[in-house]
């Protein structure tokens, strides 16, 4: 022992925290900012190119099919419920509940992927037809990469929770899924409004 030193003892501080206290949360927010900026940019490209068209969508092009779009937005909105429950279960370190809600969230993530496939099929235009087609595909593809990334993450976390390898750190990771999920699905509500409603209600300049 060294006497006479002024020290701050941190040995009994917690090792697991959630939300903004946690270091990984800041990484998640950082990537939300980056990807959010990316989505804003593709939306700006959409409106920038729209100015070049007397008619939007161009003549002989049907607007994107509504059904997959409505289903996607609906399923995404519904998914907020299990994600919120997952976040709560993780924060109270309830492994059984976390497992349950991770499985539900994984199913939702897979549903997003399948519905995105139908959304592509329902665009009614190819990327190479004209700038309208290009930008619609760009918006869907950009957002789809985020869906795929989230699906991969949730599948891996779920797998970990079904092994003996799980640690408290993973509860924090599971909780961190929530802000990214809200961003992923919330941003799509806005982008879907653009993709599906602009060609219907703002067809000419």
């Amino acid at each position: 022992m060294i006497a006479g030193r002024t020290t701050i003892d941190v040995s009994d501080l917690p090792t697991t925290t959630f939300g903004h206290r946690d270091l990984a949360w800041w990484g998640t927010i950082g990537f939300i900012l980056i990807e959010g900026t990316t989505l804003v940019i593709v939306a700006m490209v959409y409106f920038y190119l729209r100015r070049n068209f007397a008619q939007w969508p161009p003549p002989r092009t049907a607007p994107p099919d509504l059904l997959p779009g409505i289903l996607q937005v609906g399923v995404m909105a519904l998914s907020w419920w299990p994600v919120a429950l997952l976040d709560r279960a993780a924060r109270r370190l309830d492994r059984g509940a976390v497992r349950r809600w991770l499985v539900v969230c994984t199913l939702f993530a897979i549903a997003f992927c399948v519905l995105r496939g139908f959304e592509f099929a329902g665009l009614n235009v190819r990327w190479s037809t004209n700038a309208y087609g290009s930008v619609n595909w760009a918006v869907l593809v950009t957002h789809a990469t985020l869906i795929l990334a989230e699906a991969l993450e949730i599948i891996v976390i779920t797998a970990v929770f079904f092994t003996p390898r799980v640690t408290e750190r993973h509860f924090s990771d599971a909780s961190d899924t929530a802000p990214y999920w809200y961003f992923l699905t919330g941003s799509w509500v806005l982008l879907a409004a653009m993709i599906y409603l602009v060609p219907r209600f703002w067809t000419s300049p």
Binding site: M1, I2, A3, G4, R5, T6, T7, I8, D9, V10, S11, D12, L13, P14, T15, T16, T17, H20, R21, D22, L23, W26, G27, G30, F31, L33, I34, E35, T37, T38, I41, V42, V45, Y48, L49, N52, F53, P58, R91, L93, W127, S128, T129, N130, A131, Y132, G133, S134, V135, W137, A138, L152, V156, V160, R165, V166, T167, E168, R169, H170
Partner: protein
């Protein structure tokens, strides 16, 4: 189970007066990075990764400089035949791309990756493996660009790759795709570094180092990191849309199908202008640290300095259109961007006055780092003044695409970036290596650089006013441009001599330089409170900060943090505003997965320009690498458990 809901306790409740001394030998074992080639590949120590970044970026600076020298040789006299037009196009495009994307931006944030954890008093960056991934991604991108150039597939449409020239119609082949994807790699690396710096600076500061005590270099790095986050995605989108246009036939930039060539310029410059400040703002941070240390007093008007950095970062996003004055914009838009371009001089002016006041009221020592800062003041001011000139639309239209702009941008980037960078090298070299650089060679380095830069670029103002266009590989004798071009080429030779002097200084000093000791400049900030070079764990005991900066305000008691485990890679996480100890965080150990993930990213982007299936295969490999990276296993899993079971 630990008490996960416990709120952070105030530091005052934890202050004691007796604690066991740290087990340095155990810390050494815990944070030790393996030696040999494998250890080299797998390191996650922020200092090792950042040193690699700095050395690699400097290597690219030399390569970019060789291209510049070749161009100056070609232009040294009329109708020269050293370089043909095609090679010249590749050289100036690769020179610009290299200097901006592979040198200037990475070298600035890599200084942050080395210094921010030390300046805030922690053991590593927030996400050590991600940091390693960022470096390897950057390296893959840089090598891809340069191997392509050697294979005669270097980009040839400028560092900005304007469409329609860079589009599928006018640039068939793979050269522009190489540009697009090489840039993509550097974007990923920069974004990763930005997230690292923000999380480290906000959440890993030593107790007591509240935001209003943060060194200005760290503030500059934070502002830059946010700028990277909001600026880089623009070029990321652009550099993906362009290859798509060329590879799968999209029409974003094709006016015949409703696209728009000007869209490219907006996307590029909304990134491109902030990019200049992404280089310049860290340099401002260097200037503030050097001025503080060598004036031997705290900076004058610290709050104004911080606000000026933030204001510069914000205003930098409102200037991009001044790169597009010649595209026929509405009068209102041009007036707005002229005003915004002039406005950004205000926060920079505030900083200049504060530095002068600091030097004036301090006891300045004219060491080599301060000499380079004085060089920065002169050279950058000339660049700033020509910037005010080109901010004016009528003048800009006269000199657009002439050598006047080449002169302006080199004055700004060399003055605002490279002079402070040299100052930073001379200042922190003792910390990086434990040895001082030779001051005599340093002064020679400075004077050669100062004379060389002015001799090279000042005549270009006149050449531009005379009408010599940029990006031409030769000119006729009758133009009368030969004399000034020869002068510029002589200046370039002097710059080369200066850089050789610097390299010689580094080589000599690494072996023969004076041993530095922990704090050779008697500086204030925390990086000088540990050994030179710092041990792998940075500090045996994390410091407790009692005033601005850290060391000058230390009391006799020299308070420290105790209770961090030395048998595990454990770091202290503190609160954002006041740096109150909040919790303990376990950090990952060395790993090869970041390298594998970066290689998979390489397959994704590089093979993707040859076949769309490359994207599919690359994406699958990236997925595998990320799963391997995240999967808990082995000793690390045990260590994580041990850490969590402490309570």
């Amino acid at each position: 189970m630990t008490d996960v809901a416990a709120p952070p306790r105030l530091a005052a409740e934890r202050i004691g007066s007796a604690a066991p001394a740290p087990d340095v030998a155990e810390l050494e074992r815990t944070w030790h990075e393996r030696g040999g080639f494998w250890g080299w590949l797998t390191t996650v120590d922020h200092k090792s990764v950042a040193k690699r970044y700095i050395i690699t970026a400097f290597g690219f600076f030399l390569l970019g400089g060789i291209l510049a020298a070749a161009m100056r040789l070609q232009l040294s006299r009329p109708e020269n035949t050293v370089l043909g037009p095609d090679r010249y196009n590749q050289f100036f495009s690769t020179h610009g791309t290299t200097m901006m994307f592979l040198f200037a931006v990475p070298v600035m944030y890599s200084l942050g990756l080395y210094l921010v954890p030390l300046m805030v008093g922690t053991r590593n960056v927030a996400y050590p493996r991600l940091n390693s991934y960022g470096y390897y991604t950057y390296l893959v991108g840089g090598l891809f660009l340069w191997v392509s150039l050697v294979l005669n597939t270097g980009p040839d449409t400028g560092w900005f790759s304007y469409v329609p020239l860079a589009g599928p119609e006018y640039s068939p082949g793979k050269r522009v795709d190489v540009w697009g994807q090489a840039v993509t790699f550097t974007e990923i690396a920069a974004l990763v570094a930005a997230v690292e710096i923000i999380a480290t600076a906000f959440k890993m500061r030593a107790p007591g180092l509240s935001l209003h005590r943060l060194p200005l270099f760290v503030w500059a790095q934070i502002v830059t990191a946010f700028m990277i986050i909001f600026a880089m995605p623009w070029v990321a989108v652009a550099s993906q849309l362009l290859p798509l246009e060329r590879l799968v036939g999209t029409h974003f930039f094709n006016p015949a199908e409703g696209g728009d060539a000007l869209l490219w310029q907006h996307l590029f410059w909304f990134f491109g202008h902030p990019e200049v400040y992404i280089i310049f703002i860290p340099a401002l941070g260097i200037v503030s640290q050097v001025v503080t240390t060598f004036s031997r007093r705290q900076i004058v008007a610290y709050p104004a300095m911080v606000l000026a950095l933030v204001a510069t970062g914000v205003l930098a996003f409102g200037l991009w259109v001044h790169h597009m004055f010649a595209t026929g914009l509405p009068q209102m838009g041009m007036s707005f961007f002229t005003a915004a371009s002039a406005l950004i001089a205000v926060p920079t002016g505030i900083q200049f006055f504060c530095w002068i006041a600091t030097l004036w009221s301090g006891r300045p020592r004219l060491e080599v780092p301060l000499l380079f800062i004085l060089g920065f003041v002169v050279v950058f001011m000339i660049g700033g003044l020509s910037g005010v000139m080109v901010a004016s639309v009528p003048w800009d239209l006269q000199v657009h695409d002439t050598f006047f702009v080449v002169a302006h941008l080199h004055y700004v980037l060399l003055g605002g970036g490279v002079f402070p960078l040299f100052a930073g090298f001379y200042y922190w070299f003792p910390k990086f290596t434990g040895r001082m650089l030779s001051p005599a060679l340093g002064r020679l380095n400075f004077w050669l650089f100062f004379i060389g830069v002015n001799l090279t670029f000042f005549p270009m103002h006149e050449l531009g006013i005379d009408g010599m266009p940029r990006r031409v590989y030769t000119y006729l004798a009758a133009t009368g441009w030969g004399g000034l071009n020869l002068l510029a080429s002589i200046g370039a030779t002097i710059i080369a001599l200066s850089v050789i002097t610097f390299l010689a200084n580094v080589a000599w000093s690494l072996r023969e330089g004076d041993v530095a000791g922990p704090n050779p400049w008697e500086a204030d900030t925390l990086e000088w409170g540990t050994a030179s070079p710092p041990p792998p764990y940075n500090f045996a005991e994390l410091p407790v900060v009692e005033g601005r900066g850290g060391l000058w305000s230390r009391s006799e008691a020299r308070p420290v943090v105790t209770g961090l485990r030395s048998d595990l890679r454990e770091v202290l996480v503190t609160t954002v505003l006041d740096a109150v100890p909040d919790h303990l965080h376990f950090q990952p150990s060395p790993s090869v997965w970041p390298l594998l993930a970066a290689l998979a990213t390489g397959v994704l982007f590089i093979s993707g320009i040859f076949t769309p299936w490359g994207f599919v295969v690359g994406a699958a490999l990236v997925t595998l690498a990320l799963v391997g990276w995240a999967w808990p296993r082995g000793k690390e899993l045990e260590d994580q458990r041990r850490q969590e079971q402490r309570a």
